[in-house]
């Protein structure tokens, strides 16, 4: 039996409370929700522990700016505070993921942050940027080729196509074909320096290209790198340089889900099919990187591959990332010869596998290299072969990279010093 009196028998007091709730409390709830949300976000931004680095962005997060009269007057302090808050919004990664989800799935946007995200196979492709070819590129390549040969080593130029070149037919027709326009110019410049191995036909093969590139990263996969190693070995053989095969069985190790450079940019929310960081590996890595005369650095850094952060850059597992100069030694008798590889980050994955085949592998990444003139390195190390391997963006699109570095490393250093002083 219900003890609740019928409405008309309620006490005036309860009716007043009910009216009060209906007129004063319930109407305000939406406002309370909004203010509660922004207030909680504000409190969280101040009180929650602040990260110093974002793996999703691959950069350090900004610190709270110091105020001064001049920085307030010119507004830089306010801009700094806004940047700080942008970086330290509570649950920032989740918000960015929600943005990616809403943009790609709710609004059906095929492009998020200039990355194509609706390819049927999930291949993320970046909008090509316009690049210009320095006038001196061909001449520099020619000079480098002469100098290397004068030092007693043959040289092999290797052109690596960007993913957007290999998948040009899957780019939106409205996007500019900048890379296809500059690729022949870049290859022509490289040819002036010596024989060129163009990997474009190999990596663009419709039967295999989806395996050769990560879906969510602009680099090639181990399959792409291994195919490139084989192609380089074959071409080196034509130049009289033997790069022996690694006849050991390789088994695939699964390191979990991987969001590469574009995947991190558009976040998991806009990523149709995340990659799996599956790495073919021999039973043991024989090659070791050398530091201060001791060769004990792994060429495949497992800790990078197993990083528990979902946005970790697992590509850094290959040789630990970019190095200006690296010497890798492989004492195994099956390995043979000394190779010097001038490369960009595509070379990281290639290095891991190539190093298993040669006795000594010296890598130079001009973007980070601060050592002696290339010609002196060649003269000192006496490699059996010098490989200069690049994609066009690392040469033409890198503001720090001075194409004359192919001839004179000092120019690169001067360029970088200028940039550091604000003149670059």
């Amino acid at each position: 039996m219900s003890m609740t009196p019928p409405p008309d028998e309620r006490t005036p007091g309860s009716a007043r409370v009910r009216d009060l709730v209906r007129s004063r409390v319930l109407p305000a709830l939406a406002g309370v929700a909004l203010v509660g949300f922004v207030g909680a976000m504000a409190a969280g931004a101040v009180a929650l522990p602040h990260q110093s680095r974002s793996t999703m962005d691959g950069r350090s997060l900004r610190g709270f700016p110091d105020a001064s009269a001049s920085s307030v007057e010119d507004g830089t302090w306010m801009t700094g505070v806004e940047s700080w808050l942008d970086d330290h919004v509570p649950a920032r990664d989740r918000w960015l993921e929600l943005h990616g989800t809403l943009a790609s799935r709710a609004l059906r946007a095929p492009v998020v942050d200039d990355v194509l995200v609706d390819d049927p196979q999930g291949m993320q492709l970046e909008k090509p940027v316009e690049l210009t070819l320095p006038d001196a590129l061909g001449a520099n390549a020619q000079q480098l080729g002469r100098d290397v040969r004068a030092a007693g080593a043959p040289i092999l130029w290797v052109y690596v196509p960007r993913k957007e070149e290999s998948f040009a037919d899957r780019l939106p027709a409205a996007w500019p074909d900048y890379y296809l326009r500059t690729a022949p110019l870049m290859k022509a410049a490289m040819r002036r320096g010596g024989p060129l191995l163009d990997l474009t036909p190999l990596l663009s093969d419709p039967q295999h290209r989806d395996d050769y590139y990560w879906r969510t990263d602009h680099h090639w996969t181990p399959a792409g790198a291994l195919a490139a190693v084989d192609a380089i070995a074959a071409r080196a053989g034509q130049l009289g340089v033997t790069i022996p095969p690694d006849v050991r069985p390789y088994t695939t190790h699964h390191y979990g889900e991987y969001l590469g450079s574009t995947g991190r940019r558009v976040t998991r929310g806009a990523t149709k099919r995340p990659d799996q960081f599956d790495i073919p590996q021999p039973s043991s890595w024989r090659a070791r990187g050398c530091r201060a005369g001791v060769c004990d650095q792994p060429v495949f850094v497992t800790s990078k591959a197993t990083d528990r952060d979902p946005y970790a850059n697992r590509y850094l597992a290959f040789t630990g990332g970019d190095h200006g100069y690296q010497r890798i030694s492989n004492p195994d008798p099956a390995a043979h010869g000394t190779i010097m590889l001038v490369k960009d980050s595509f070379g990281d994955a290639l290095t891991t596998y190539l190093a298993e085949r040669v006795s000594t592998l010296i890598t130079i990444d001009e973007r980070h290299y601060t050592g002696a003139d290339l010609r002196k390195v060649v003269a000192a190390q006496k490699p059996d072969l010098v490989i200069v391997m690049h994609n066009q963006v690392s040469v033409l699109g890198n503001v720090e990279f001075d194409s004359t570095a192919w001839v004179d490393m000092a120019a690169t250093k001067a360029h970088r010093a200028q940039a550091a002083e604000g003149d670059g």
Binding site: P27, A28, V35, M41, H99, L107, A109, V111
Partner: protein, 510 residues
């Protein structure tokens, strides 16, 4: 400071509301003024002095005008003219000096003029001018205190991009702005809706439109139409979003602002478009320029003069460029032609034809508004009507549609008023609105009950009374729905705000 920024949402807004409600209602203008100054100084740390000086001068001059009540009309008129001239000095110098110098052939001198455009100068200048004119017309007794007037003029919700509110309407509400539960909830609904429209929809369209206009001339007839329709949606979503947020923030502080938009794209003529678009600007020009020039009840030649002057100035208000002047004049000519040539004929056509005409008029006007110069505008017009070498359709048009069709559909539905029944019902139930305005706001007839635009015969609207219609209250079910709507809109907007870097409203540059 931009409404759709983390620093506004997650720092300024909670602090401002807290500061506002922490003090007794009679003193709330103090934190309002202080927070508004911070809001402005955040983007203009030096030029904040300009708006504060404008406020001080306008208040003082208004006092002088009030005290000159018994003076001869000529002296009062002279006082008004001096006051208005002084108030106009900043906008003349900062916004128009370069354009004037360049126009009169002093390009070399113009190139030496590098004055930043103070944010919101067009809005607060017009509010100040209107205030002085209202006092001169004895329709207003002026503000009782400098604090309250300054709080009115600098009130952060309308500070940057309007609406151009009037002292006679807002000033009295600032005497004791109280917390009103229904307005607080309704304000949150408007704020979240505005955030969603700007951050999620407008900025998404903007990415597509900007990339298309960046190429200069359109790549095809289709691309020209897609870009223009996209911009029509973008500017509506952008500007009406700002007004939504401004109206909502004011409501959350217990202050009612009049509507600034009433679904302009359902208009059936150019005249009706301006009754629904940026209403506060249209009524300002009507009351303070068009009517003083003689209005509509004049000889045809004078009517045309009045229309062309008012609409050219309306265009110039938007920016110191010939494209804006032409855009304004375009509407002046169209409204004049509707009055004198084809208005009746259009009214006799089926409603759908009238709506198509009204929409086409608005959309074609935006080409002038968006184009960087007359050359680009002409290239767009030629391409849109197949008079250029551009193909009928190209991949750029396809891709633009592919990128934004969902936003186009949502934006078009919102522009057509799909959310209107819900919003009107929410307002009726929640907000205590001034009685005379309730009918117009909640009406469903499709046309406003007044004609707030230059080119009509309507006299200036009477100062609204502030008779409050007390809301009856709502049940738990509706409260839950409102909370859910606010939550969904706010969360989605937050995701886009966090992901997007600086993205100011279009009308910030005016």
């Amino acid at each position: 400071m931009v409404f759709t920024s983390t620093v506004f949402l997650f720092a300024f807004l909670p602090v401002a509301l807290l500061a506002f409600y922490l003090v007794p209602s009679r003193w709330r203008c103090a934190p309002l003024l202080a927070m508004s100054a911070v809001f402005y100084a955040w983007g203009e740390p030096v030029l904040v002095v300009l708006i504060l000086l404008t406020s001080l001068f306008t208040y003082a001059w208004g006092h002088l005008l009030v005290r000159s009540g018994e003076a001869p009309p000529s002296r009062r008129r002279a006082l008004l003219l001096v006051g208005v001239a002084v108030v106009l000095v900043p906008i003349a110098a900062f916004k128009y000096l370069h354009f004037v110098l360049a126009t009169v052939g002093l390009s070399a001198l113009a190139d030496d003029v590098h004055l930043p455009l103070p944010i919101g100068v067009s809005f607060y200048t017009f509010m100040a001018v209107g205030y002085l004119i209202d006092i001169h017309r004895r329709r207003d007794d002026g503000a009782p205190s400098l604090l309250r007037f300054s709080a009115f003029l600098t009130m952060f919700p309308h500070l940057v991009a309007g609406p151009i509110v009037r002292w006679s309407h807002v000033g009295p509400q600032l005497a004791r702005p109280r917390f009103q539960a229904g307005m607080f909830g309704y304000g949150a609904l408007r704020v979240s809706g505005g955030l969603f429209k700007k951050a999620v929809l407008s900025d998404s369209v903007a990415a597509v439109v900007d990339s298309m206009y960046a190429t200069g001339a359109p790549t095809s007839t289709g691309a020209a139409w897609v870009a223009t329709i996209g911009y029509s949606l973008q500017i509506y979503l952008d500007f009406s979003a700002y007004s939504d947020i401004a109206i909502g923030l004011a409501a959350m502080m217990g202050v009612h602002f009049d509507e600034n938009f009433r679904y302009p794209y359902v208009s059936r003529s150019a005249r009706e478009f301006w009754q629904r678009w940026h209403i506060s600007l249209g009524t300002w020009f009507r009351d303070y320029l068009y009517i003083p020039l003689g209005g509509s009840r004049v000889r045809p030649i004078v009517l045309w003069r009045n229309l062309l002057v008012v609409w050219a100035v309306t265009g110039l208000w938007h920016g110191a460029a010939w494209t804006f002047i032409l855009w304004g004049t375009y509407f002046g000519v169209l409204i004049g032609l509707e009055r004198t040539v084809w208005g009746r004929a259009v009214e006799r056509t089926p409603a759908v034809v009238q709506h198509c005409y009204g929409l086409l008029v608005a959309v074609l006007g935006w080409v002038l508004f968006r184009s960087t110069d007359l050359h680009q505008a002409s290239s767009y017009y030629l391409a849109m009507f197949g008079l250029s070498d551009a193909p009928a359709w190209d991949p750029t048009a396809t891709f633009a549609l592919d990128r934004s069709w969902v936003v186009f559909v949502i934006g078009a539905l919102l522009a057509a008023g799909i959310a209107r029944p819900f919003m009107d019902r929410a307002q009726q139930l929640l907000e205590a609105v001034p009685a005379p305005r309730l009918e117009a706001v909640a009406g469903t007839s499709g046309t406003p009950t007044s004609e707030p635009v230059a080119g009509t015969d309507v006299e200036p609207a009477a100062v609204s009374t502030l008779t409050q219609v007390a809301p009856a209250g709502i049940g738990a079910g509706l409260a839950a729905v409102l909370v859910a709507v606010v939550a969904v809109l706010t969360l989605a907007a937050t995701a886009f705000v966090v992901a997007t870097t600086y993205s100011p409203f279009i009308y910030f540059r005016f």
